[in-house]
Symmetry: C2
Subunit: 202 residues, 2 copies
Amino acid sequence: MSSDAVRDAVTPERVIDAALQIVEVEGLDALSMRRLAATLGVRTPSVYWHVGNRQELLAKLVERITEDVGRIRPVGRTPEQRISSVCLAVLAEVRRRPYVIAVSATAGRGEAIFTPAQEVLAREVTAAGLHGREAAFALRTILFQLGGFILVDHGVASDSSLHGVDRWEVADPDLRAELHTSVDLDDIFRYSLEAVLAKLLP
Amino acid sequence: MSSDAVRDAVTPERVIDAALQIVEVEGLDALSMRRLAATLGVRTPSVYWHVGNRQELLAKLVERITEDVGRIRPVGRTPEQRISSVCLAVLAEVRRRPYVIAVSATAGRGEAIFTPAQEVLAREVTAAGLHGREAAFALRTILFQLGGFILVDHGVASDSSLHGVDRWEVADPDLRAELHTSVDLDDIFRYSLEAVLAKLLP
DNA sequence: ACCTGAACACCGTTCAAGT
DNA sequence: ACCTGAACACCGTTCAAGT
């Protein structure tokens, strides 16, 4: 009955390792304290001893994930290019690990999605010539743009066709037809980002 | 032990009523099939008989909510004004019923957030002079803008100050100071929407 | 310091059995 | 057609007791 339990010294780090493993492979719903204990070859209360409770475990998980993601290097010559390169890199990273969204949301740490990007974007914004209040507003607007897109991208069904279009009273039949085809979501993101950056940067 | 059970004829509609009531008052986590049965003065399997299972119940809940929200009337003279009035109205509506986000997300119907707005926005976009492919792109971009903001607005802690700003290596101390103050999120939304609309509309 | 068995109070879901 | 009791297989969490 030992399944493939590992039974070395259990530490908080090993618990987080195991939890991350489960979440990566089977999603957040599969992560239970009991299941985690079984994976570690230990009984449930032991897990509690090491990481507190589920809530605290998720918090530690978020911490681990955000430090794993690491720094992102901007590329490009103009500030616009450099900033959007950072945003697209974060987007790609999150798509590679879709579970981060569920984990940080459940942990009540929604902002965690863009922690890796914040500091480097701040530098780019000041490098673009913005200061103080203006720079702060620009930074937050960019972060909202990025965070919003990540969340919608994640939450929307992949076919992304719209609901009940045929019952709409819209004059244009071409529009109706177009709404049945699915879209390259990234086009929408790039377009929006371009628009706000053009308005934000001097 | 009857708490305040209602015990008239149980129907799917009454089940949804009761479910909505629970979710509105105590949030989605409080909605369990057993709890729901108790509220209706009936045993758990009866609920299953009427609404299938939890997943189906959530789907019905989403349907009810979106039809409850009803049509939104655009106000303003220019297309820009009319479109942003619709977006702000949806935003206000969702803030009045924050549970809709959790419910539609859990039901796997993330797009449901903006169903009430879709058709009227489609009309406004064509009224602004866009057709076919262009109109579809504009509509989707506006919807993404709205949906993204709603989700970030919902997920971000109300203080919205950024994490670990003090350890950043940014030159501008004014920026750092500004990031400690909290912001009017709506300013960010209005600003972004203005930027994309200016770019989208002819 | 670390682990356990046992319990409490919950879940979603199914199903044979009742009226 | 509608409801029930009873069960199965899960949860998170606590706690006295062991080493």
